[in-house]
């Protein structure tokens, strides 16, 4: 202790002490905040998660995708698709498939969030692929730009998903589903993995920031009030024509009949 008491009046003592203190606070903070990040699970917990995922996979998925996710005649190999794909297709209910039709449809998910995470961890353990995201990580409200997102959406998405994101038809019974009411992380994961008929929009084509803008535009379209009255599905002139021939002309002809009815 003589060492400390000897130098405690040294002219570098105060700045050094300050440095130590700052370093100490910083270290504590980084350790404390690091526990919030879900990705830093330790190896043991991770291997348990993978094992759980494997059990779910063997029960629920392997009959089509094969015992080692190697794929078979009816289903593709899942080696290298990454956790993002699994999170998208399982958490939106598309997988397990309802039937072997043209396209897996969105429906209430079969597995809960933990099971999805386990499945994702298992598939990700087979080979590297795009990682899954949480809604909190997708900071579209902070980093997105609605108008830019609209331009990007019309340039890249509207040709299949319709100008207002209501979805549209593809060939042979396939379709682009509506993007209304989809969670931000699923939109993001769909963009980076390109599920089913959708192409992959890599970060070189649409940067992560631009992806957030697209999500922001979608969310804005979702919450936009119907400015002109009943939206008629936001699918363009077909429903407008239908309304004119039913309600519009129906009312008008009804009035014509009434006006010319003979008084009895």
């Amino acid at each position: 202790m003589r060492f400390i008491s000897k130098y405690r009046k040294h002219r570098f003592a105060s700045p050094l002490l300050l440095l130590f203190a700052l370093f100490g606070i910083g270290l504590t903070f980084s350790v404390a905040s690091a526990t919030e990040a879900p990705k830093t699970v330790d190896a043991a917990a991770r291997s348990t998660l993978i094992a759980e995922g494997q059990q779910i996979f063997l029960k629920g998925c392997s009959s089509c995708h094969g015992l080692n996710a190697e794929g078979a005649g009816v289903a593709p190999s899942l080696i290298g698709v990454g956790a993002a794909s699994v999170d998208f297709v399982v958490a939106t209910g598309r997988m397990p498939m309802q039937d072997m039709s043209q396209q897996a449809m969105r429906k209430p998910p079969v597995y809960n969030e933990e099971e999805v995470a386990a499945l994702a961890a298992y598939v990700a353990s087979l080979a590297p692929g795009p990682r899954a995201y949480t809604n909190e990580e997708i900071k579209w409200e902070r980093d997105g730009n609605t108008a830019e997102g609209g331009e990007l959406f019309r340039n890249n998405c509207a040709m299949c998903h319709n100008f207002a994101g209501q979805g549209g038809a593809l060939t042979q019974g396939k379709y682009a589903p509506t993007v209304m009411g989809v969670e931000a992380r699923h939109i993001y994961e769909a963009l980076i993995t390109g599920p089913q008929a959708m192409p992959v929009f890599s970060d070189k084509i649409i940067t992560p920031q631009e992806k957030l803008s697209i999500i922001k535009w979608i969310k804005s379209a979702e919450s936009e009030p119907n400015l002109g009255g009943a939206p008629l599905g936001r699918v363009g002139p077909v429903t407008e024509g239908l309304l004119v021939w039913t309600l519009g002309l129906g009312l008008l002809i009804g009035v014509a009949v009434w006006l010319t009815a003979k008084a009895r």
Binding site: C160, G167, G173, S220, L227, G229, G236, L247, L249
Partner: protein, 531 residues
């Protein structure tokens, strides 16, 4: 005479001395119009036209038909700072920053859809009742011209805001122009002032939309109505109604009050639609850029059948003398519509030739009594409806979980198979209805009351029709087939040859009817038994 009457008399006298209007007014205000709901369909179209003029004038105060590039600074936030044309920006301005602007835009658009729908049903009424027959053939042609102009005018209006949907429509119009062999390319350069989309198309179609076509419309509508006035309105047959009179109400005051009131009702219904139902939400479509397209891009309904035809056309192309002929666009985009509209316009003459009927007609037909025409009409409508359905094939596919390819094949086959089927079925239904009419006249109306006779036999009581009803069911004449003359009594061949054979064949088909009850048959039944 009260003071008010004296003042009115003085004013009327003053005007009459300078215009001589009294005699003309007296004659024409007493003009009689027959009363039937189906005679009001044309009026719906007329009133919608007035609404279009009024709401269109309002819109023209703010609309800027310019392709100048601007950055949007208006109040619709999702498009803030987006580059667009001044035309689109001003349409957004009308929608969001002009008081009542969006309502007016929506009224204008709904009125346009109602206008075209009213023209279509009015035309169906005229067709199925035979109101186009001599002396009204010219008015029928005027009507077809108005219909065609309406389609063009509507399409131009749909194109003006320069949003993503309207730009897509213009692109298709451009493709159809280009599909014309040899000079299509030159024509498209002429119309667009260069390559697509260019800077001049929107300003050009604006002046066509607000000045040229409305002007032609006014002229044609005036001629259309003046002919109705001059030739007098047709009427449904009934006791006291002949080819020489018109039974109905005088223009003043009854018909004037009804028609005037009807105008306000049409305006009210259009305004109601404009207030409660969104139409053409251009802010959702975004500005037009040739690089963009939206799924489910459709035209308004009156162009939907054209779009449907283009969508079902197989990809045929031929390459001739250095020119590509795109049959897949040329055929459904120009040739088939051309044939259809020419056929519609000439139909009065075609029918007159087929039946050999060259007389004047002011009494209308009941559709069942002219099975051939009715069946032809339903056949044409079936063609149009199949085409129209295919125009919305993508939405049908997504909303009913179908495959767009299957719908396309259904339409491709259906457009050939279904119209003839519709012809046969309609004709059979008409003949059955004639049979029912004959039965009703001869044996009365089935009352549904069953009676047991003393000896145990059950009979249904038939109630004899009123004299008016019997007259209405039997007043029509049934045409005879034209006898085919292959050679005259000197053995000289008929120079018309094939034409005569065709005419005989068609007239035989037109003359196919269930014989209506004759007076002798009715008498015989009345004098004797009943069952």
């Amino acid at each position: 005479m009260t003071a008010r009457e004296r003042v009115a008399g003085t004013v009327a006298n003053y005007v009459d001395e300078r215009t001589g209007a009294a005699k003309w007014m007296k004659k024409n205000l007493q003009k009689v119009f027959p009363d039937h709901w189906s005679f009001m369909l044309g009026e719906i179209a007329l009133y919608s036209f007035v609404i279009l003029l009024l709401s269109g004038t309002f819109l023209s105060f703010w609309f800027d038909p310019s392709m100048r590039h601007v950055t949007y600074e208006g109040s619709y936030q999702p498009l803030k700072d987006v580059e667009m044309s001044a035309a689109y920006a001003s349409a957004l301005h009308i929608s969001f920053d002009v008081r009542g602007g969006l309502l007016m835009r929506q009224i204008h658009h709904w009125a346009a859809l109602i206008f075209m729908a009213a023209i279509a049903v009015h035309m169906m009424r005229v067709f199925f009742t035979g109101a186009f027959r001599k002396p009204r053939e010219f008015n029928w042609i005027l009507g077809v011209a108005l219909l065609t102009l309406g389609i063009v005018e509507g399409f131009l209006g749909y194109s003006l805001p320069d949003d993503l949907l309207s730009g897509t429509g213009v692109r298709i119009a451009h493709a159809i122009i280009q599909s014309i062999p040899v000079f299509g390319t030159y024509l498209s350069f002429f119309a667009f002032g260069g390559a697509f989309p260019g800077e001049v198309f929107i300003p050009r179609i604006y002046i066509v939309h607000v000045l040229l076509i409305p002007g032609i419309f006014l002229a044609l509508i005036t001629a259309h109505l003046m002919l109705v006035w001059y030739q007098k309105h047709t009427q449904y047959p009934g006791p006291g109604r002949t080819e020489k009179n018109v039974v109905g109400y005088p223009l003043m005051p009854v018909y004037m009050a009804k028609a005037g009131g009807f105008f306000f009702i049409v305006f009210g219904i259009t305004a109601f639609l404009g207030a409660v139902a969104s139409i053409n939400p251009i802010w959702l479509y975004g500005p037009y850029t040739p690089a963009q397209i939206s799924a489910g891009s459709q035209p308004d309904w009156y162009m939907g059948w054209l779009d449907g035809l283009v969508r079902m056309a197989p990809p045929f192309e031929t390459y001739l003398f250095g020119y590509t002929i795109s049959w897949n666009i040329l055929l459904p985009g120009l040739i088939i519509p051309g044939v259809i509209f020419t056929g519609i316009a000439l139909y009065p003459f075609i029918e007159s030739w087929m039946t050999g009927d060259k007389r004047e007609h002011h009494l209308l037909d009941r559709p069942r009594n002219v099975p051939n025409r009715t069946a032809l009409g339903v056949m044409s409508l079936t063609f149009m409806v199949v085409a129209l359905i295919n125009g919305g094939n993508d939405l049908i596919a997504t909303h009913f979980d179908l495959s767009i390819n299957q719908i396309m094949w259904f339409s491709r086959i259906g457009i050939i198979v279904l119209p003839p089927l519709a012809f046969v079925i309609t004709k059979r239904i008409c003949l059955s209805l004639q049979r029912a009419d004959r039965e009703a006249v001869l044996h009365g109306r089935e009352t549904g009351r069953l009676v047991m006779l003393p000896h145990g036999e059950f009979i249904e009581i038939h109630e004899e029709l009123s004299a008016e009803k019997k007259f209405a069911l039997t007043q029509h004449e049934q045409p005879k087939a034209i006898a085919l003359v292959t050679e005259d009594n000197q053995g000289v061949l008929n120079p018309k040859g094939l034409r005569a054979r065709l005419q005989a064949r068609f007239s035989a088909a037109s003359a196919e009817n269930i014989a209506k009850p004759t007076a002798a048959e009715v008498k015989e039944l009345e004098s004797g038994h009943h069952s």
